[in-house]
Amino acid sequence: MTKKQKRELRKIIITGVLFIAAAVCFAVIEVPGNLRFIKLAVWIGIYIYAGGNYIVKAIRNIARGSLLDENFLMTVATVGAFFIGEYTEAVAVMLFYSVGELFQSVAVGKSRKNIASLVDMRSDFARVIRDGVQTEVDPSEVAVGESIIVKPGEKIPLDGVVVEGSANINSSYITGESAPAPVAAGDNVISGTVSLDGLLTVRVEKAFEESTVSKILELVENSSVRKAKTEKFITRFANVYTPAVVIAAVLIAIIPSLITGDWGVWVKKALIFLVVSCPCALVISVPMSFFGGIGGASRKGILIKGADHLEKLSKADKFVFDKTGTITSGNFVVKEIRPAEAFSEGELADIIYTAESFSNHPVSLSLCDYCRENGASALSGDFSAEELPGLGVSVKSHDNEIYVGNKRLAVKFAADSDEIPDADNTAVYAVINGRFAGYAELVDSVKDNVPSAIKYIKEICNGKTFVLSGDKKSAVAFACEKSGIDEYKAELLPADKVAELEKIMNRSDGATVYVGDGINDSPVLARSDVGIAMGGVGQDAAIEAADIVIMDDDIGRIPLAVKVAKKTMGIVWQNIIFALGVKLLVLLLTLFGVSSMWLAVFADVGVSALAIINALRALK
C-alpha cells in the first residue's frame, strides 16, 4: 500500500470505531429532546472526518465546471440524508464509500504491479567488459559491439551473439517454451532468456531500447491504448447512465412529493438513486479485465497488441493459415518413389542412395534416410562425386555413371529424355548410364503438433480452417490432409491471397484470423480481422505487421490465445451484466419502496469490489 492508502485505511478504521461507538451510545442513552442537537453534532463530526476530502473534491470540481462526478453525487446523497434525518445512514454511506474507494485503489495498483512484473523480464544490470575489467552497469549504458558476461542462472540483459562458452537457455519468459535449448559460440541469444548452467560471453548486437525485452514490454504496456469496442461502449454508456439516473432522482424527489406531499419518503428514494448512479464498477473492471488478459497471455508467449484484437479473437470462427513455415516445417520428406518402366523400386532407391550419400543438402539427407529405411544399399564400385550447381550431383565409377538432380539435369543426360514425366511435387530425378531410372517425389512435412492444434482450434471455436498458399496444389493438398485443415487454395500469387482471404471473410459474420510467418504476407496479415504472426522473436517486421505475435513457432499457442480471449471476454460480460443488473434491480426496488441506503451502498461499492475481484481472474 502507498502512504496515501495507509492514511486512508487509518481513517477508515477510526471512522468505523467512532461510528459503532456513537451508534451504541445513542441506542443506549435516550437523548432528551432539547439536547438532540448534540446527536446531530456528533454525527456531523464523524461524517466530516470520514468524508471531508470527498466533499472538498466535489466542491473543487464544481468550481472547475465538472458536475456529476462521483464525489459530488456522494456528497449530495449523504448531505441529503442528513436533511431527512437519516444520520446513521449518511455516515455509513460515506464510510462504505471510502472503503470501496480504498479497495479499488489498492486492487488497481496491485494488478498494475502484477502485470508489470509479469511482463518485465528485463535485467537490472549488465556485466560489461571494459578495458579487460568486468563492470556492472545499467543495461541501457551498454553500446552495440561491447561484450558482456552472463553467469549461470542469470538473465541475459541484451540481445547478442555468443562469442565464448556454451549453456542451456531457458526462454520461457519470452516464448513460453519451457524446454531449455543449448547455445554455443556463434548462436544468437535474446534478452530476457536465462542461462541455466553455463558462463557466456556475449557480443551485444542491439541497444537496450531496441532489445527484445524492451520491445515486448512496450508492446504490452501500450496494448491497453487500443481499446476494445466493449470498453468504448461502456464509456459511452456511463456518459448517459449517470446523467439519466440523476435526472430520474430529481424527478422522483419533486413530482411525487408535490402530489402526495410526502417529501421525506420520495427524497430518500431520490438519494438512493444518486448513490447507485456511479458507473465505477463498469468503467474500472472492463479495462482491467482486458489488461489482465493481455498480461496473462504475454506470459504464455503470446503478445496481443490491443484489447480490440483480443475481443475479435474471441469471436473468431475462420482460421486461415499460410503453409510453409506455419503448417509445414520446410523439411522435405519423401512421399513416393516412382521408377521408370525398366527399373524396379529397389533399383531406383539404390541408384538415388549411391548418389545422394555424397551430398549434405537437407533434401539429400532426407532422401538417403528414406532409401536406407527401405533397404537400399549403395552400388558397388569406387565412386567419385561432383556437384553440378543448379542441377544436382553426378557420381561416377568404372562401371556406372549416375546423375541425380532436377528435371533439367535428367533431360540433359538421359538419352530417352522424352520418357521423363512431370512430377506433381518437388522431385529428384535419377539417370544411370544415359537411361532415365525414375524419380522420387518429396513433400514438405507437416509440423508435429499441427494436427492436434488444428483439431483443438476447430473444437473451441466451432470454426473452419483454411490454407492459402503459393505452393503447388498437390503439396498443399497433402499438407491439409495431414493436418486436418478443411479447405485450401493453392498456387496463389501474393496479390491473390488478399482476394481469397476476403472471400473467406465474407462467408460468415465471425472474425477471420490469418496466421503466417509475417515476413512475406504482411498484406494478408493486415487485411484479416486478426493477423497472427508466428515466430516473432527477433522478427521486427513480423511484430510490426501483426495484431498478435506468437513468440516461438509453436502453433499450439493459437488455441491457447483463443482460450485467453474467450475467457477475458467472458469475464468482461459477467461484470457488465452483474454490475448493471444489480444497479437496475436496486433502482427498481427503490422505486417500489423496498430498498435502503445500505442496499444502495452495496450496489455501488460492493458491486465494484466484486467486479474488480472477478477482473483479476483474467490474469491467470
Partner: protein
C-alpha cells in the same frame, strides 16, 4: 508526431475516459488515448506538440487535480 507520456496519480477510470475525450478535442490532435491501467497518454498530433501537451495537462488537472503528465 506520436508521443507516449507517462501519467502519475491517475486514480479514476471514468476520469481517464473523460480526459481522453477532452484531449481528442484539442486543435491539432489526430488521436489521443488515455490508458487507465497503463497510466499512459498516447497522443498523435500535428503542429506544436509541446503546446498541445501543455493544453492536455491543463485538461487533466481540471478533471483529476492530483494527476500529472510526466514530461
Amino acid at each position: 508526431m506520436k508521443k507516449i507520456v507517462k501519467m502519475e496519480n491517475l486514480e479514476c477510470a471514468h476520469c481517464a475516459a473523460k480526459m481522453e475525450k477532452a484531449i481528442n478535442d484539442i486543435d491539432g490532435v489526430v488521436s489521443a488515448s488515455v490508458s487507465f491501467m497503463a497510466q499512459k497518454l498516447i497522443i498523435e498530433a500535428e503542429g506544436d506538440i509541446d503546446d498541445i501537451l501543455r493544453k492536455a495537462q491543463k485538461i487533466i488537472k481540471k478533471i483529476e487535480p492530483d494527476c500529472e503528465l510526466i514530461l
